[in-house]
């Protein structure tokens, strides 16, 4: 019996050790990936690289057009996706009466969140680029990405709204406020930090998207920065993809350097999201 017991305990111990090793695997891969990219591209990142247009000569090429393109597209994506997404979330969380229609909307949003991003690209190509005549413009790209992140925006905003205690709403109603007054003056301000954090995370997902923008026909070689919503454009991930597809080692170094710029941008966005969340936490703790 004691032998059996000792055996069981060593199995338990081995199981735990295996779990720990596998859990650390993710960390190891992440570090390897970052070190590999830093080794390949860090020496290429410079002010010249960030402010130059793409070029046939790898040593002259830079990410300026792609960086400005990414910022343009994401800014416009935010302008489209935030009102739509926050509006939907408010309706579903504060108004909907568990009707069959709102049940359908919820199921639909959960399903949309699982549709592959390239399919959104096909939708954007047929709807925005061709049917609505936006062409291969910043507006077409931003509209496509806005639809792509819409489910994420709705889900995260709903979560932020749900975290607002019902007592706040009841207090407001007791003072005679209407439903919209309650939402606008009480619920939304209380849910703001959570909402903003979710929005930034949704947008940082959009900034790394490549496939849907290739599908709508965003250009891979753009020697100018976009100057309006009708302008053709490229974005950082597409520029990186373009460089990765070339055989010359010098272009591969550019790709690594482009990745460093992209990861830097993502890090800044995520840092902002964490900062907002933590500051809100301190406020509510007091």
């Amino acid at each position: 019996m004691t032998l059996r017991r000792r055996f069981n305990q060593s199995v338990d111990w081995a199981f735990q050790a295996l779990g720990l090793v596998v859990t650390v695997l993710g960390l190891v891969v992440l570090v390897t990936l970052l070190v590999d990219i830093a080794r390949d591209g860090l020496s290429r990142v410079s002010w010249q690289f960030v402010t130059s247009f793409p070029s046939r000569r790898p040593e002259d090429a830079g990410v300026y057009a792609a960086l400005v393109g990414s910022v343009f597209v994401i800014g416009l994506t935010a302008l489209i996706a935030i009102p739509l997404g926050v509006g939907s979330a408010i309706y579903l969380e504060e108004y909907s009466r568990r009707s069959r229609w709102s049940r359908l909307i919820e199921l639909n949003i959960a399903n949309l969140a699982g549709v592959p991003s390239i399919i959104y690209g096909l939708l954007g190509l047929a709807l925005f680029v061709r049917a609505l005549g936006f062409g291969r413009s910043v507006l077409a790209g931003a509209s496509t990405l806005a639809l792509l992140v819409l489910p994420v925006v709705i889900l995260s905003t709903r979560e932020a709204l749900r975290a607002v205690p019902p007592s706040l709403r009841e207090g407001s109603y007791a003072l005679g406020a209407t439903r919209w007054q309650t939402i606008w003056y009480q619920v939304l301000p209380a849910a703001l930090p959570g909402t903003v954090t979710g929005l930034i995370l949704a947008l940082s997902r959009a900034i790394g998207e490549t496939a849907p923008l290739i599908a709508i026909g965003a250009l891979t070689y753009v020697p100018f920065a976009p100057d309006g919503i009708w302008s053709p454009f490229t974005v950082l991930p597409i520029q990186i993809f373009n460089w990765v597809s070339r055989p010359q080692a010098e272009f591969l170094r550019n790709a690594a350097a482009g990745i460093i710029v992209l990861l830097g941008l993502l890090l800044a966005m995520n840092g902002a999201a964490t900062f907002i969340r933590d500051r809100a936490q301190i406020k509510t703790d007091r």
């Binding site: 338990d12 596998v22 592959p116 096909l122 591969l252 990861l263 995520n270």
Partner: protein, 296 residues
């Protein structure tokens, strides 16, 4: 403001918000109509039988053949490699985090997993092509520069966080009474986990696995960059292949005018991709709902 005009404003706002919420339905209708419209056009030229069961895919060549099976095979192959990594590793991670790990370890591991899930796919593509493939070539003789193995492994790491976080939620939803009963019968933690907790969370864990398959099938950039662009009906992970998603990108990169058969193929392939991921997502959702019903 009078009471009645305030009431009108209230109703107007509610209608406006309702309209916002309905946009998501329009998106689904949009996706479906675009895919169906172009696919019907496509089937006027190519019979559905030839498309679904043909074994040669050469729509961009002079001698056009429209058998989608090579693309399906490539997709299944890469996804299988990815699942072979993500499923065991994700489940073990979930078990460790949920049943064993002290809070301090959880506090480090969870954000790292979140970062892994947030890395853009084009970055994983770079990593697969220029780091993992050369590394594997030293270990596996005969591995081509473009292959299904390397992007599959990297994709497995990418979807690992999703498997582990959804499985962990499932394990958490198992009532602690079940664990305590197992301990009371003299079970060790490993025994309680393997024989009681994991079976009790089974529907939730399957939901996570199915969602991961759906994600793997729809992943685009890793395979476009590192798996090659040669549609090939094979189960060999060492040679170049092409997935459904990579084909869509390949055609999109060229300048294909609307209305041509090449243009219609990407929607037909997209339709197949949409139908398969949609079916998997529905099953996953149904399983998750069942888990919720079991323990609440």
């Amino acid at each position: 403001m009078s009471v009645s005009s305030r009431g009108r404003l209230e109703r107007a706002i509610e209608h406006l918000l309702f309209a916002c919420a309905s946009v998501s339905i329009l998106v689904t209708i949009g996706i479906l109509s675009v895919l169906v419209f172009e696919t019907v056009q496509f089937f006027r030229t190519v019979s559905p039988i030839e498309f679904l069961f043909g074994t040669t895919w050469t729509p961009l060549f002079f001698d056009k053949q429209f058998g989608v099976l090579p693309l399906v095979a490539g997709t299944v192959l890469v996804s299988s490699v990815a699942m072979a990594v993500a499923l065991p590793a994700g489940l073990l991670t979930a078990i460790y985090l949920s049943e064993y790990a002290p809070t301090s370890v959880r506090r480090v591991v969870k954000p790292v997993l979140e970062v892994l899930a947030g890395v853009p796919t084009v970055v994983y593509g770079y990593f697969a092509l220029l780091f993992v493939t050369p590394l594997l070539q030293q270990l596996v003789p005969g591995l081509a520069g473009f292959n299904a193995l390397s992007p599959g492994l990297v994709m497995g790491i990418m979807i690992l966080p999703m498997v582990s976080s959804l499985s962990e939620d499932a394990l958490h939803s198992v009532p602690s009474g079940l664990r305590e009963a197992a301990y009371a019968l003299g079970a060790t933690r490993a025994q309680a986990t393997v024989r009681v907790v994991v079976p009790a969370a089974f529907s939730g864990i399957s939901a996570a696995a199915i969602l991961a398959v759906s994600r793997a099938i729809g992943e685009t950039m890793i395979v476009t960059i590192a798996a090659g662009q040669q549609p090939r009906l094979t189960g060999n992970p060492l040679v170049p292949i092409e997935t459904m998603t990579a084909y869509i990108v390949q055609v999109s990169l060229g300048d294909t005018p609307a209305g041509t058969i090449e243009y219609q193929t990407i929607f037909a392939v997209g339709m197949l991709l949409f139908v398969s991921t949609f079916a998997l997502n529905m099953v996953s959702q149904w399983l998750r709902e069942r888990l919720r019903e079991e323990y609440s």
